[in-house]
Symmetry: C2
DNA sequence: GTCTATAATAGGATAGAC
DNA sequence: GTCTATCCTATTATAGAC
């Protein structure tokens, strides 16, 4: 049955992408292994040749989604100009909530993750730190605090917009979160009204360094 | 067995408070009816004399938690002075994350709720609108937008702090969200640096009107 | 109104053929 | 490596005694 040498690896990737999509859309408990394997084009029995448990799949799927997001950000077509603005705008968009593309596990699973085992929570926490670095502008303490606030508003905005049973309110909320963050970024990019330093001579080098942090598999 | 006339009502309230606590801590799927009833001092069979399904219990439990929070805010001991600051500080506190008191279903169930039926999502959305009015300072459009941003940061901050597998980071994050909102409130209470109107002659009257909105059972 | 007992189902995990 | 078949447990919901 297995003609290609990397047949297993490709099966694994199919499982991971399918799982990442299903878990984000429906949470850990509502997704069955049967469902994942069916949509990946296999049956339940084949699952345990790839993962030892559903929980292990969960963690790996979160990592796969994060790597996928990083690859999208670093794609050749993306010019580094206004990179941060575009990341925030795409994140807090209606398509991120209702579209069919991969959803961010940070926002879509934020209150699901607290119930899971240490391994899964460690992975989620690692991906979270990665996103903080992505939206961080200054290397100092204040820059870190501002990055935390931005990420909370991104994750919170998407999570709440998805929970609300009123599309109009969801759209208003997303737009409000978007402008809050974009105003904050703009305020840092142009005239700084606060006193701080070390903010000029870094072009796009840290951009890459930051992105590396996101979804780096093993410490 | 039932000596008191309101025996059933007291049983119902015990079930609701127990369910509100368990659901917030563990989510919908991980909590069984058996577990709720045991901790409420009854057995599984008695459940269906009070609720027609687990999902109905879920919605009613969310409402019960919201009413409980409203009652705490409106308790006689609470002076209206710095009311808003105290609400925000208590919400974004370490005790709210790890304590044994009732957790806010908005934050603790934010990504759980998207999977549930319309009735439950409607209730969650109603409670959300209530909290927006609680943290709103001005009746105009901008006041609404700022209230949305605050609520997103409150819900997002608590949800993320709970998800993170690093207590130190959680505490830092909570503190950062707290100061962001408190700075914003202070900026509105004292000198307004933005041009707006209609902000002076309302003392505590709207405070009550706002609180009424939270957890009002039926439209 | 609460109890015990019992469907009926779903889903995680394993065994063994190919 | 993937399949089919099976075990085992957990849980919702109902039936009927008291």
């Amino acid at each position: 049955m297995s003609w290609s040498p990397d047949h297993k690896e490709r099966s694994r990737q199919r499982i991971l992408i399918t799982a990442a999509r299903l878990f984000a859309q429906q949470g850990f408990d509502k997704v069955s292994i049967d469902q994942v394997m069916s949509e990946a084009g296999m049956t339940r029995g084949a699952f345990y040749a790839h993962f030892s448990s559903k929980s292990e799949l969960y963690g790996e799927a979160i990592l796969a989604a994060a790597r996928n997001a990083r690859d999208s950000r670093l794609r050749p077509g993306a010019e580094p100009d206004k990179h941060l603005e575009r990341v925030v705008t795409a994140y807090l968009s209606g398509e991120h909530i209702s579209g069919d593309s991969l959803h961010c596990p940070l926002a879509f699973l934020v209150s699901d993750i607290a119930q899971r085992d240490e391994q899964v929570r460690d992975i989620w926490t690692r991906v979270f730190r990665g996103l903080v670095e992505v939206v961080r502008q200054e290397p100092d303490e204040q820059g870190y605090a501002r990055a935390l606030q931005r990420v909370v508003m991104m994750i919170g905005g998407v999570a709440v917009a998805r929970a609300l049973n009123d599309d109009s309110l969801s759209q208003t909320l997303l737009e409000t979160c978007r402008s809050a963050i974009l105003d904050d970024i703009l305020c840092r990019e142009s005239g700084d009204d606060h006193a701080d330093r070390a903010h000029n001579d870094e072009g796009k080098a840290p951009q890459v360094a930051r992105a590396e942090l996101l979804a780096e598999p093993a410490g």
